[in-house]
């Protein structure tokens, strides 16, 4: 495996096989940007797929090429961590529709020689998963020891278990949901409207010109609030002023929290494509795993042999514990082997990306139990 060029860091490949999208489009060819860590064992039974969140990418445990920052989940993935390259062959793939190398609206449409922009087909979470399955076929991996994801990554993990039950032995779903609520959709719509209201957006045809950075930045600011908790914001910023002793009686970033959000917005536009933001938020809003099953979530998991582990955080109001519990009830009704725990954290939805020793202990025990079966 050492000399297999399909495995390693910063891989890219163009696969000709079409991905059949929920919209009816057969999308081909598909470009994949992905990374792998660790060796696939002889019987190919140690592959773990890590699914990333809305603005995440394949750089789970290696430095981001644009920001230079360390991987986004080094607390969970790495030597001595629950997901360990010494034990696992870890695969992470930039999702379809994103902008870090996999096919998305910024990619070149081979039929026109220009970027797709809004001609890129609307995709769903299931489409992302179907595309990942095509790449796993290419890698020669039939069965995953586990598929693991937080937030939108958790939606993919659930969809993997529902779409390909025979290919997934274990699924870890953290801070996630089986459907987008009206409130979830509403926040995303604010973000999309901010992007589309930016004149530079130009109906998506901005490639080669200035990007709609102002709109994307506002979208990120609105979304970022939903990733934190009120208590967390209060503790971090309170009503403290930013580099000043008194209010300016103007519209500068007087408050620390304003300055922080503006920074979050501005730094985001350097690494993310506005159209990808539109497409991926749409995919999340369309997500309702029960919908193809007459609204009965348990039917999505009927007869499943996959083991499930769900973790939620008590201060996460984006995908609150009730959503995880709804999944657990469905898994119980389906007779699935399910584990679930709500952990305590002051950090809201983002808790799954931060230090959470209890989360690591649970994931480690859950994965090891699957390996010893």
């Amino acid at each position: 495996m050492q000399n297999d060029a399909r495995f390693g860091l910063d891989k890219k490949t163009l696969l000709l096989g079409a991905v059949q999208l929920d919209s009816g489009v057969a999308f081909a060819p598909v470009e994949f940007a992905y990374e792998t860590y660790g060796e696939l064992n002889a019987d190919k039974s140690n592959a773990i797929l890590i699914c990333h969140a809305l603005t995440g990418d394949q750089y789970v445990a290696s430095n981001h090429p644009v920001t230079g920052k360390t991987g986004w989940w080094t607390r969970m993935v790495g030597p001595g961590k629950p997901i360990d390259p010494a034990r696992h062959c870890i695969i992470s793939i930039n999702v379809l529709g994103s902008c870090m190398g996999s096919s998305g609206p910024a990619s070149i449409d081979s039929s026109t020689g220009a970027p797709f922009a809004m001609a890129f087909p609307v995709i769903t979470i299931a489409d992302m998963v179907r595309a990942q399955a095509v790449l796993l076929d290419y890698l020669g991996i039939q069965t995953l020891e586990a598929v693991v994801g937080g937030s939108m990554g958790g939606m993919q993990a659930l969809s993997w278990a529902a779409l390909y039950p025979d290919r997934v032995r274990s699924a870890v779903i953290i801070a996630s949901t089986a459907r987008h609520s009206a409130q979830n959709i509403a926040f995303h719509e604010v973000g999309r409207q901010a992007i589309m209201a930016d004149p530079r957006w130009n109906n998506g045809a901005y490639y080669g010109h200035e990007a709609p950075a102002a709109g994307l930045s506002v979208a990120r600011m609105a979304a970022h609030i939903t990733y934190l908790s009120e208590a967390g914001l209060t503790e971090k910023f309170g009503r403290r002023l930013q580099n000043r002793d008194a209010k300016s009686f103007g519209f500068d970033a007087d408050f620390q929290v304003e300055s922080y959000l503006r920074y979050q917005g501005l730094s985001f536009v350097d690494r993310f494509d506005a159209n990808s933001y539109l497409y991926i938020t749409r995919a999340m809003d369309y997500f309702d795993l029960a919908e193809p099953h007459d609204g009965v979530l348990a039917k999505a998991f009927a007869g499943t042999k996959t083991r499930f582990c769900l973790i939620s955080f008590d201060s996460d109001w984006l995908y609150p514990t009730a959503e995880s519990r709804r999944i657990v009830h469905a898994l119980n009704a389906a007779g699935a082997a399910a584990s679930f725990v709500e952990l305590s954290s002051p950090f809201g939805h983002d808790a799954f990306l931060l230090d959470a020793p209890e989360m690591n202990r649970i994931v480690d025990g859950f994965l090891r139990a699957g390996e010893s079966r």
């Binding site: 009704a333 584990s339 679930f340 709500e342 859950f366």
Partner: protein, 197 residues
């Protein structure tokens, strides 16, 4: 392996090998782990306390954080060979409804509980004039999780009303088995194996 509490040891001994079990109020999963390791059972658990759930899952057990009073409704009828409720009945808000679910979900159900009519309890009540605080029920009246105390005779008459059949019964005093005679007066703990008629 840590020695099992005496009522759990009885349940562990009586459960058939390779059975499917649901342990409601499974704590950190000691009984489930013992049954998995010695009887090859397919064990699932439910527990209210997050720390206990985390420990159980880290042990490789399938345990969901949930409340016996609210989270049993989704399990299909007869989906387990045994549903187990050990030392949890007296802590539930509606023990009657929990028991209904238990004998619905499990083809058989094990229920164990401390007997509130044991003579030490009676003495404490009758002569001490105080709520009993004993080794088995070590809590004071204000901080006890045991909100529905029950006696062996109460339990039997409840089963009778609900047409729930007793298929096995075991009694304990000082952690040792004792016979059925005057159990309501003499036994500290009871373990019942039940089936819905």
């Amino acid at each position: 392996m840590t020695a099992l509490r005496s009522d759990l040891a009885i349940i562990a001994r009586e459960v058939r090998a390779h059975a499917r079990i649901l342990d409601v109020g499974c704590g950190d999963g000691l009984l489930m782990a013992a049954l998995r390791d010695t009887k090859n059972v397919d064990a699932r658990g439910m527990e209210l306390n997050a720390r206990d759930v985390a420990t159980a899952v880290a042990r490789g057990l399938s345990v969901v954080q949930g409340d016996a009073d609210t989270d049993l409704a989704d399990y299909p009828d007869g989906s387990f060979d045994y549903a187990i409720l050990s030392q949890t009945l007296q802590t539930t808000k509606r023990p009657d409804l929990v028991l209904d679910h238990l004998v619905r979900i499990g083809r058989q159900a094990f229920v164990s509980f401390p007997n509130f009519a044991q003579w030490r309890m009676r003495l404490a009540h009758m002569f001490g004039g105080r709520m009993p605080v004993t080794e088995q029920l070590p809590h004071t009246w204000y901080d006890t999780p045991n909100i529905h105390h029950v006696t062996i005779d109460d339990f039997r008459s409840f089963l009778n009303e609900r047409n729930i059949r007793i298929e096995g019964q075991w009694f304990l005093s000082g952690g040792k088995p004792r016979n059925e005679r005057m159990a309501n007066l003499l036994a500290e703990h009871a373990v019942f194996l039940l089936r819905r008629d």
